[in-house]
């Protein structure tokens, strides 16, 4: 018996930090494409069903277009899809899963989709699902608590699969969990070892094995710049279970298509540094456009000329990338030649003011920018 373990689709994520709305929309669309693409994997691997461990939607109140898009994408997968609500799309009063529109769309577009809102066993042909749905955004109790003593009447011969969404010990503070510290905490160790055969976890966006049979599958499509080393977002897991009390065989498949790049911080103090940065970025981004996001951290001091080149570089990057997140701490540091060129001009006022500003560089925070402005203005006038 083999199935697909996925979670944290975050469909409808606003990506609000991206100013360009069409880019935002493209990014949202790509997440749906990634889900649709599961179909070939399912067929290739002959997967029986799909488990989604929470956060299918990014929001507990998605709009209708998002609901329809998700249902349509799931419908394309054909095999049964079982899902629990996560903290982002939690159940409970007024939740999306109970809204009439969702129910209608689900019936019409995704009859293979089953959202599990009750903490009770679901017996399938070849497995028993033990869902631990989140019914509110912040669940203070462990959602798996009901499984700490084995529920009565479970079929003896069928493998038992737990579905849960939340952070486990030691991961909540890593930054990749969506849940706040201490909330939606899952104590995997409190579950009786022999009672369950696979624990499918969601919430942490990187892929991670927690115990011999407990796995975070991570998000299939990265949705943020990764923090720290060793995160492996952009995957799904196929899980094969031979029978009760058999260690499952887990395989990773790359699904992510969007590049989220967060290279180390750069120091820019010269033209050579700028050339180095350009070379690195070329390598990282190739000649692609509209399929990458980049967090660029730069600091240092550049001359008028350097600044100009850097601004040209970022201008290009903004156009090519889905997003350029620029953490910039670059000082305007005109070269002596540049300063001389201004202060020794034949224009008495420009020269005099350039001299004054030059003298004030150390104390007046506006002096650098004013000098650059003067330089640009002179250039504009003379053009």
């Amino acid at each position: 018996m083999k199935f697909l373990h996925t979670a944290d689709w975050q469909i409808g994520k606003p990506f609000q930090s991206i100013a360009d709305n069409s880019k935002r929309e493209a990014l949202r669309q790509k997440r749906l494409d990634t889900v649709r693409a599961f179909k070939s994997l399912i067929e290739e691997q002959e997967l029986e069903f799909v488990l989604v461990c929470g956060d299918l939607f990014d929001s507990s109140t998605p709009d209708q277009a998002t609901v329809s898009a998700l249902c349509a994408a799931i419908g394309e997968l054909k095999v049964p899809v079982y899902a629990i609500p996560g903290n982002h799309d939690h159940g409970g009063p007024g939740c999306i899963w109970e809204q009439a529109f969702f129910i209608r769309e689900q019936k019409q577009l995704a009859p293979n989709f089953h959202i599990l809102l009750e903490a009770e066993p679901v017996v399938l042909e070849h497995a028993v699902l033990l869902p631990c749905p989140l019914l509110r955004r912040h669940e203070s109790e462990d959602p798996t608590a009901w499984l700490r003593s084995e529920p009565e009447g479970l079929p003896k011969e069928l493998p038992r699969i737990v579905l849960a969404h939340g952070s486990t010990q030691g991961f909540s503070s890593s930054g990749e969990s969506d849940s706040e510290s201490g909330i939606n905490r899952i104590e995997v160790n409190h579950l009786p070892v022999d009672s369950y055969d696979y624990i499918a976890l969601g919430d942490w966006h990187g892929m991670k094995q927690i115990t011999a049979n407990a796995w975070f599958c991570g998000t299939p499509e990265q949705d943020r710049f990764a923090k720290g080393e060793g995160n492996q977002p952009g995957n799904v897991l196929t899980v094969e279970i031979q029978g009760r009390k058999q260690t499952p065989s887990v395989e990773t498949f790359k699904t992510g298509r969007i590049g989220w790049h967060a290279p180390d911080a750069f120091q820019l103090n010269s033209a050579a540094d700028l050339d180095g940065l350009k070379a690195q970025l070329d390598e990282l981004l190739g000649g692609r456009a509209s399929s990458d996001l980049l967090r660029l951290r730069v600091s240092g001091a550049l001359s008028f000329n350097g600044i100009e080149h850097f601004e040209q570089l970022t201008e290009s990057l903004r156009a090519r990338l889905i997003r350029l997140k620029l953490d910039q701490d670059i000082q305007v540091e005109p070269s002596e030649e540049e300063l001389d060129a201004l202060s020794e001009r034949q224009d008495p006022l420009i020269a005099q003011v350039a001299k004054e500003l030059r003298d004030e560089l150390s104390e007046d925070p506006l002096a650098r920018d004013a000098l650059r402005e003067l330089q640009l203005e002179v250039r504009r006038v003379e053009a």
Binding site: Q16, P62, Q64, P93, A100, P348
Partner: protein, 899 residues
């Protein structure tokens, strides 16, 4: 440059005028129209106007004397003496002889002259007046323009002045085109984006960014509210569900408890009813027993009290008994005496009435006699009256004639007789003696025996076949006689009618009858008077009235039972009356005796009664107490029975009471066992609790419905996404605003710096000129300074102000000064400028002042003189033109008079 002399020929008013100028100061004076201004103009034209030409200026020079206008000048310039000759007109020419140089003619001469004067060629071509006006305008004060700002007219000297000032201030460069272009660019950016007050302008990028930020913040707040409401609804839903469960559970529990309590309370209710009944029974039996005991006690008390009171009252009662007997006897005596007295009183009254009746009867008899007498008298009077009446009746129709009337009448009768006799003598009398046919005289028929006298012609018809015309006598006399006779007859007839008699004899007879009757009447009246009929009638009436009264009195006096046949005989009546009076007297005596008897017995009876009353009063309290006690005792006994009866009743009632008490106690114990009071409190508490839970349950259900409704999404928007997007947009807008703000700060900072630098430059550039003006201003105002401003681009001197802040008088721009002050200040500035510019002209320049002090009073003129003196001391050549030389005394100027 210094003017040495001028000769003007054929130039307007001047035929040939020559003037020599002192090197430092000269006053050219002369009356009006002596050509002072023309001289100044001629010198100006000689220096600057192209000689050859036919402009308005050339034409205006033409003199009435004819000939070509010519001006010859001698002046020092560039270290040499020059002689300039210009003849103006279409064939005008210029000649310049310079010391030690070849003489120049025409254009070369004019070019050389322009170079010497430091001007840009000679003036010619279009707009020539304006061009000429600008030339050396700072040195030439034309008539009437002394109060104009010299800055208005220094365009041509601006560059020279600036280079002089630059040289003096060390500011070798003022501004470059690039400088100005950069400042202009920044300024136009600033004015496009900021208001005068420095706020971002509507439509500017910064303003748009600020507005966009505000809008985004508003959207964020709105989105946040929406989401909070949604979250609130979810919380509210959970809370409502929890409440529904809790209150539902409470309700079920409370209702179950209430049911059990209700069953217990039903038992309590029935026991309470029983208890009420038992208590009532106990009360009733108790009341009955108490009643019986009270009644018995009362009877016993009455009996003992009665016995005691009676013993005390016995002696007194005996005494009263005696007094009662005595009183009764006396009372009987009194009653007897009173009966006697009453009977005698009645007899006395009867007898008095009878006596009265008799008395009245006697009087009535006397009155009757009098009435009879009076009646007879009255009969006699009546007879007299009847006679009088008869006589008066006879007299009434008789006219009272006088003798004269009778005589007159007789005369009238005689006259009528005579007239008739005369007529008869003429007239024809017809008398029908007998006829068997009808006779008709005229239209009237005439019967047998009828006589008719005709005085006119008449027709007599007898039967039907006979008609006879009768014509009496001679017609005239007959008519007259008839008229007389008729008149006399009418007169007589009227007289008789007037007297009411048929004839004169009748009248005489009537007169005699009247006289007899009159006498008769008089006699009767005398007799009637004597009889005094009225008195007699009155007396009779009174007497009849008196008689009636007397008879009434008699009848009234007589007691009813009495019937006395009163005799009409007066004597018998008198005797009977006397007898009645005697009986009355004896009855009076008897009555008096009976009365005194009654009084005595009454007194005795009253005395005895008083004695009894006194004794009874003394005994009253005791006897009433006994009576009262007895009646109460009687009543009580009647009600409660005798001693044995009462005793039996009390025993029975006591037994009943004890029984009832026991029954009540039994029920009370049962109630206590059930804890009735506690049950009720519990029931009340639970009922309240049920009510409250129901209300809370309903409230929670309502809240759930409300929350459900709020949670039901229409799905058109995702509020979570809306908020995130709004927050991100706010952040982006803020970044944008900050970036633009920073950019603006930077640009404005730069602009401020550029402006400050330029201002410092222009200020430095103005300073040497300000310093040059200041000593002159000091002479005028003492302590004041000039403030001169160059245009921001340094192209020209823009404004001039008088700084008197040291005198706490403030800063006055030139335009704000009075005309007099303007005149002074303008001169000071001209002198200062001339002084600066003189450096290029061998340290001397002439200043031509044509009637330049028109706005100055005497005091100011003195100050202006100081100014001019100082200027001449500083090397300037001052040429004054005026028609008031007296104003310039004390200047030590050389003088030239024009005539």
């Amino acid at each position: 440059m210094k003017l040495l002399s001028a000769t003007v020929r054929n130039y307007r008013t001047h035929r040939d005028t020559s003037v020599r100028f002192d090197g430092s100061m000269v006053l050219v004076h002369g009356p009006n129209e002596s050509g002072k201004s023309t001289l100044a103009e001629a010198i100006h034209c000689a220096l600057f106007l192209k000689a050859k030409g036919n402009t308005n200026l050339h034409k205006a020079m033409q003199s009435d004397h004819g000939g070509t206008p010519e001006v010859a000048l001698s002046f020092e310039a560039n270290g040499r003496t020059h002689t300039l000759s210009k003849s103006f007109g279409s064939s005008g020419n210029t000649t310049l002889e310079s010391e030690g140089q070849a003489t120049l003619n025409g254009s070369p001469a004019e070019d050389c002259l322009a170079q010497l004067l430091g001007v840009d060629g000679t003036v010619s071509g279009g707009g020539i007046e304006g061009k000429m006006e600008r030339r050396w305008a700072h040195l030439w004060v034309w008539q009437g323009k002394s109060n104009h700002s010299p800055l208005e007219s220094i365009d041509e000297s601006q560059a020279q002045l600036r280079s002089k000032l630059q040289a003096q201030s060390g500011q070798s460069f003022l501004t470059s085109d690039t400088d100005n272009a950069v400042i202009d660019a920044l300024q136009s950016w600033e004015s496009a984006n900021f208001t005068q007050a420095g706020a971002p302008k509507t439509g500017s990028e910064l303003k748009k960014a600020i507005e966009a930020l505000e809008a985004a913040e508003a959207r964020t707040a709105s989105a946040r509210t929406t989401l909070q409401e949604l979250e609130q609804a979810a919380t509210s839903f959970d809370q409502a569900e929890a409440d529904i469960e809790r209150h539902g559970k409470n309700l079920i529990e409370a209702e179950a408890q209430l049911k059990s309590i209700a069953a217990q309370l039903k038992t309590v209710g029935s026991l309470r009813e029983q208890l009420k009944e038992k208590s009532r029974l106990r009360e009733d039996t108790k009341k009955a027993l108490n009643g019986l005991i009270e009644a018995d006690t009362e009877i016993r008390q009455f009996e003992s009290q009665l016995k005691e009171t009676r013993a005390k009252a016995a002696p007194k009662e005996k005494e009263i008994e005696g007094l009662q007997t005595e009183s009764k006897t006396k009372q009987a005596d009194y009653e007897k005496a009173r009966t006697v007295r009453e009977r005698s009183s009645r007899e006395l009254n009867r007898l008095r009435s009878i006596a009265d009746a008799w008395q009245a009867h006697c009087e009535s008899l006397r009155e009757s006699q009098r009435i009879t007498h009076l009646s007879e008298e009255l009969k006699k009077i009546q007879k007299l009256k009847d006679a009088q009446k008869q006589t008066t009746k006879q007299l009434a129709p008789l006219e009272n004639f006088t003798d004269a009337a009778i005589k007159k009448l007789a005369k009238t009768e005689r006259e009528a007789e005579q007239a008739r006799l005369r007529l008869e003598a003429y007239a024809l009398q017809i008398e029908v003696l007998e006829s068997d046919q009808a006779i008709q005289l005229n239209d009237a028929s005439l019967k047998p025996g009828q006589t008719e006298i005709l005085s006119h012609a008449a027709e007599l018809q007898i039967g039907t076949g006979t008609r006879i015309r009768l014509t009496p006598g001679g017609a005239e006399d007959l008519e007259a006689a008839r008229a007389d006779s008729d008149a006399a007859a009418t007169k007589l007839s009227d007289a008789l009618k007037a007297l009411g008699v048929d004839s004169v004899d009748a009248a005489r007879e009537q007169m005699r009858t009247r006289e007899n009757l009159g006498k008769e009447l008089e006699d009767l009246e005398t007799k009637l008077e004597a009889a005094n009929a009225d008195d007699c009638e009155q007396a009779l009436a009174e007497a009849e009235k008196t008689l009636a009264q007397l008879q009434a009195r008699r009848d009234a006096s007589l007691p009813k039972e009495e019937s006395i046949p009163f005799p009409d005989e007066p004597k018998a009546a008198e005797a009977a009356a006397e007898a009645a009076r005697a009986s009355l007297t004896s009855a009076q005596d008897a009555a008096e005796s009976a009365e005194s008897q009654e009084k005595a017995s009454h007194k005795a009876a009253v005395k005895a009664a008083a004695a009894l009353t006194k004794a009874e009063d003394a005994h009253k309290t005791q006897s009433e107490a006994i009576k009262d006690l007895q009646s109460r005792l009687d009543y009580a006994l009647k009600k409660s029975g005798d001693t044995d009866t009462r005793s039996n009743a009390i025993n029975t009632a006591t037994a009943q009471f004890d029984q009832a008490k026991q029954a009540e106690q039994s029920v009370t114990s049962q109630l206590e066992e059930l804890g009735a009071d506690h049950l009720e409190i519990d029931a009340e508490r639970l009922n309240h609790s049920v009510d409250a839970d129901k209300k809370k349950l309903s409230d929670a259900k309502d809240r759930k419905i409300v929350a459900q409704t709020e949670l039901k999404s229409n799905g058109s928007k995702d509020p979570h996404r809306e908020l995130k997007e709004a927050e991100a947009e706010t952040e982006q807008c803020r970044d944008s605003r900050d970036r633009l703000q920073h950019q603006s700060d930077v640009r404005r900072h730069l602009l401020d710096k550029l402006r400050a630098a330029r201002q410092a430059t222009t200020a430095a550039l103005a300073k040497p000129l300000e310093d040059a003006v200041t000593p002159y201003l000091n002479l005028l105002f003492g302590g004041s300074r000039a403030q001169l401003h160059w245009a921001e681009d340094g192209s020209r001197l823009e404004s001039f102000a008088l700084d008197r802040t040291d005198k706490q008088k403030g800063l006055f721009s030139f335009g704000k000064l009075s005309h007099g002050t303007r005149e002074q200040v303008a001169l000071a500035l001209r002198l200062a400028m001339a002084q600066l510019l003189a450096a290029d002209h061998d340290d001397c320049l002439p200043l031509i002042l044509d009637d330049a002090f028109t706005h100055a009073d005497k005091n100011r003129i003195e100050k202006l003189k100081s100014l001019l003196y100082q200027a001449s001391q500083n090397g300037l050549q001052i040429i004054l033109l005026s028609c008031h030389p007296e104003n310039y005394s004390g200047l030590s100027a050389s003088e030239v008079a024009l005539s």
